[in-house]
C-alpha cells in the first residue's frame, strides 16, 4: 500500500461485511416466512423483514463502493486522499444513520416511524427500496456529497486515469439520480415513472460504471496487463452499458400507465443490455489469460472472474428471459423477477465489492500482497458455497415463477394468488435450503479473515 490514507477504506469494508451478514439473516427469515406464513408474526412481519433485507443490501454495497473508492482513488491518482478525517467522520455518520434507520424499521410500526420522522412535511417513504425516512435520505445526500468532494479533490490534484474518471462519473451519477427519491407526486403513474430514475438508472446505469471501473482496477493490479488495453475495454463496456441501459429504462414502463410505445423502446434496448455484461466476461477472462505476472492473491482473481460470469448470467441472461414485453406481460411481478433480482445483484454488485475487499484487505492488514495459504483456501471455499447456492436460489425461484405464471396467468382457469403460492411451496422450501447454504458460505467467508493470521503470506517464486 503506497499511501497511508488508503487505510480509511478498512472500516468501510468491515462495516460492509457486517451489514451483509444482517442482510442474509433477514433473507433467511423471509425465506422461512414464504413457507411458514406466521413465522415471527406479528413481531417481524414480512414487509419489515424485506425492508431490512433490501435496505441493508443497498447500504452495505454503498459502504463497499465508498471503501473501494477510498482505497483505489489515491492509488490511481498517486497522491494522498484529500481529507482522511472527512472520510472517517462520514463513515460514522453513515453507520449511525443506517443503524438507527434499521432499528426504526424493527422497533416501531412503520406508520409510527413515518410519524416521528415527520414524513408528512416531505413525504418520500413507503416506496420500494426507498423506504428510508426522509431525514435518512437527506443524510445519505450529505454523506454522498462529502464523499464526492473528497474523492473529486483527490482526483483533481493527482494523476488522472481513466479508471478514476469512470468511477467519478459513476459516483456523480449515483448522487444525482438519488435526488429523484425526493420527488413523490400524488399521481401514482408519475411517482412510479420517476422512481425508476433512481432504481433503474442506478443498477442498470451508473452502478455499471462503478462496477466496470473497480473490475478494471482489480484486473490491472492482479494481471499486470497494459493499462492502455484495459482502459480501452473499459470505455467500450461502459459505452454499451449506457447506450443500451438508458433507453432500456423503458422495460419498466410497460404496465404502469405509461404510453404503449415503451413496449417497443423497452423491449429492443433492454434486449441489448446483456451485451456489456457479455463483453465484461470476455474482458475479464482475456486479461487473466494474457496476464504478465502471477499474483499471489488467488481469491481476488477468482472473485473478479466470478463477478464477470455471474453478472452476465444474472443481469444479462436472467434479465433477457423476461424483458421482452410480450413475455413480461405474463412474468411481470412474479418469482421470475425475484430470481433475476437475486442473481443480478449478487453477480454484479456483491461479487465486485467482495473482489475489491479481497484484493485490498491483505494490504490493509499490513501484508505485502496476499493472505496465508489457509486463509485463501477458506475464502475460495466461501466463494463456491455462496456462488453455487445463489445459482440454486435462482433456479428454484425460476421454477416457482414458471409454475406461478402458468397457474395464475396462462392456464384456462387461472387460480388465485394464494392458491398458487401453496402449490409452489416445494420450490420455496428448496430455495430456503439453498439460502441456508448461502449463509454457511458467508460464515466461512467471515472465518477466512480470522484463520491463518499468524502464518506467512503466499509468495510467488521470483
Amino acid at each position: 500500500m503506497k499511501y497511508t490514507s488508503q487505510m480509511v477504506a478498512k472500516p468501510y469494508f468491515i462495516a460492509a461485511i457486517g451489514l451483509f451478514i444482517g442482510q442474509i439473516l433477514f433473507g433467511v427469515i423471509m425465506g422461512m416466512q414464504y413457507v411458514v406464513g406466521d413465522f415471527l408474526f406479528p413481531e417481524i412481519p414480512f414487509n419489515v423483514a424485506r425492508m431490512v433485507h433490501t435496505n441493508l443490501l443497498i447500504v452495505w454495497l454503498l459502504f463497499g463502493f465508498m471503501g473501494a473508492a477510498y482505497y483505489m482513488v489515491p492509488d490511481e491518482a498517486e497522491t494522498e486522499l484529500h481529507s482522511p478525517f472527512l472520510a472517517k467522520l462520514m463513515f460514522w455518520i453513515f453507520l449511525v444513520a443506517g443503524a438507527l434507520t434499521i432499528l426504526g424499521y424493527l422497533l416501531v410500526p412503520y406508520a409510527t416511524l413515518a410519524e416521528i420522522t415527520m414524513n408528512d412535511l416531505l413525504p418520500t417513504m413507503g416506496r420500494e427500496f426507498l423506504e428510508q425516512p426522509t431525514i435518512t435520505k437527506i443524510g445519505i445526500v450529505i454523506v454522498a456529497l462529502a464523499f464526492l468532494y473528497n474523492i473529486g479533490m483527490t482526483i483533481l490534484k493527482g494523476r488522472k486515469t481513466v479508471i478514476n474518471l469512470v468511477l467519478l462519473i459513476g459516483l456523480v451519477g449515483l448522487a444525482v439520480f438519488f435526488l429523484f427519491s425526493f420527488y413523490n407526486p400524488d399521481n401514482i403513474v408519475l411517482d412510479k415513472m420517476f422512481w425508476w430514475f433512481v432504481v433503474h438508472l442506478w443498477v442498470e446505469g451508473v452502478w455499471e460504471l462503478i462496477l466496470g471501473s473497480l473490475l478494471a482496477y482489480v484486473l490491472i493490479k492482479t494481471t499486470g496487463v497494459d493499462r492502455e488495453v484495459i482502459e480501452k475495454w473499459l470505455y467500450v463496456i461502459i459505452a454499451m452499458a449506457l447506450i443500451t441501459g438508458l433507453i432500456g429504462t423503458g422495460h419498466h414502463f410497460f404496465w404502469i400507465g405509461t404510453p404503449g410505445y415503451w413496449q417497443w423502446w423497452g423491449s429492443i434496448f433492454s434486449a441489448l443490455e446483456p451485451i456489456p455484461f457479455f463483453m465484461m466476461t470476455i474482458f475479464a477472462f482475456n486479461m487473466v489469460n494474457k496476464r504478465r505476472r502471477q499474483h499471489p492473491n488467488k481469491p481476488a482473481v477468482l472473485w473478479a472472474l466470478g463477478t464477470a460470469v455471474m453478472a452476465f448470467l444474472g443481469a444479462g441472461v436472467w434479465g433477457f428471459l423476461h424483458t421482452l414485453s410480450f413475455v413480461n406481460y405474463y412474468t411481470h411481478g412474479t418469482q421470475i423477477t425475484a430470481a433475476h433480482g437475486h442473481m443480478a445483484f449478487y453477480g454484479a454488485y456483491v461479487m465486485i465489492v467482495l473482489a475489491i475487499i479481497s484484493y485490498a484487505m491483505p494490504m490493509l492488514n499490513g501484508r505485502k500482497a496476499a493472505n496465508s495459504q489457509l486463509s485463501q483456501i477458506v475464502e475460495m471455499w466461501s466463494f463456491w458455497l455462496m456462488t453455487i447456492s445463489m445459482v440454486f436460489i435462482t433456479l428454484f425461484l425460476t421454477g416457482a415463477g414458471i409454475v406461478q405464471v402458468y397457474l395464475q396467468r396462462m392456464s384456462d382457469a387461472p387460480l388465485p394468488f394464494m392458491v398458487v403460492q401453496d402449490k409452489i411451496e416445494l420450490f420455496y422450501w428448496l430455495r430456503e435450503g439453498a439460502g441456508i447454504i448461502f449463509l454457511i458460505g458467508l460464515i466461512v467467508y467471515v472465518a477466512s479473515f480470522f484463520v491463518g493470521r499468524d502464518q506467512p503470506e503466499v509468495e510467488l517464486p521470483k
Binding site: 406464513g37 414524513n119 411517482d191 404510453p259 387461472p414 388465485p416 394468488f417
Partner: protein, 143 residues
C-alpha cells in the same frame, strides 16, 4: 480488441453514445409526461385518493404486495384489487378485520388499526389505480 480500434475511439463512443441516448431518454420522458393525461386517470385523482396514497405508503403496503406488478411478491397484486374484490366495502372489510396475531401457519396481513377515514382513503386509492389505463395488465383478474 484490434489495434486499429484505438482508446480514443472507444472514449468517443462512450461520451457520444451516452450523451445521445441520455438526450433521447429525456425527449421520450418529456413526451410521456405530456401524454400521461390520456392514461393516468388524473381526472379522478381526488384529495381522498391522494390521502389514500399516503396511507398506502405510511403502512408500507408495497413491502408485501405488488401494485401494477411492482413491489414484493409475498401477497396478491393490488392494482386490480378493486375489480377483483368488487367494491370499496369489500376492500375496507378485508383490511379492517385482520386478526392481530395472524393465522397459525399461514401468511396473514397485519392489523394496521386504520381509522375509518384512512380505510376509505386507501380503498378510494385502490379504486383509482384500478382505473388507470395500463395496457390491459394483468392478463386476468387473478393479478
Amino acid at each position: 480488441m484490434s489495434q486499429a480500434f484505438t482508446k480514443s475511439m472507444a472514449r468517443n463512443i462512450f461520451y457520444g453514445g451516452s450523451m445521445f441516448f441520455f438526450l433521447l431518454l429525456l425527449v421520450l420522458t418529456f413526451d410521456t409526461v405530456k401524454s400521461l393525461p390520456q392514461t393516468d386517470n388524473r381526472e379522478n385523482l381526488t384529495e381522498q385518493v391522494a390521502k389514500g396514497k399516503h396511507v398506502w405508503e405510511n403502512n408500507n403496503c408495497i413491502g408485501c404486495h405488488t401494485l401494477m406488478g411492482e413491489g414484493a411478491y409475498f401477497a396478491p397484486e393490488l392494482g386490480n384489487a378493486y375489480k377483483r374484490m368488487g367494491s370499496k366495502e369489500a376492500i375496507i372489510a378485508f383490511i379492517k378485520f385482520r386478526p392481530k396475531n395472524g393465522i397459525p401457519g399461514r401468511r396473514s396481513m397485519p392489523q394496521f388499526n386504520l381509522t375509518d377515514d384512512e380505510l376509505d382513503a386507501v380503498a378510494e386509492f385502490l379504486k383509482y389505480v384500478s382505473e388507470i389505463n395500463n395496457q390491459d395488465w394483468p392478463p386476468n383478474i387473478q393479478g
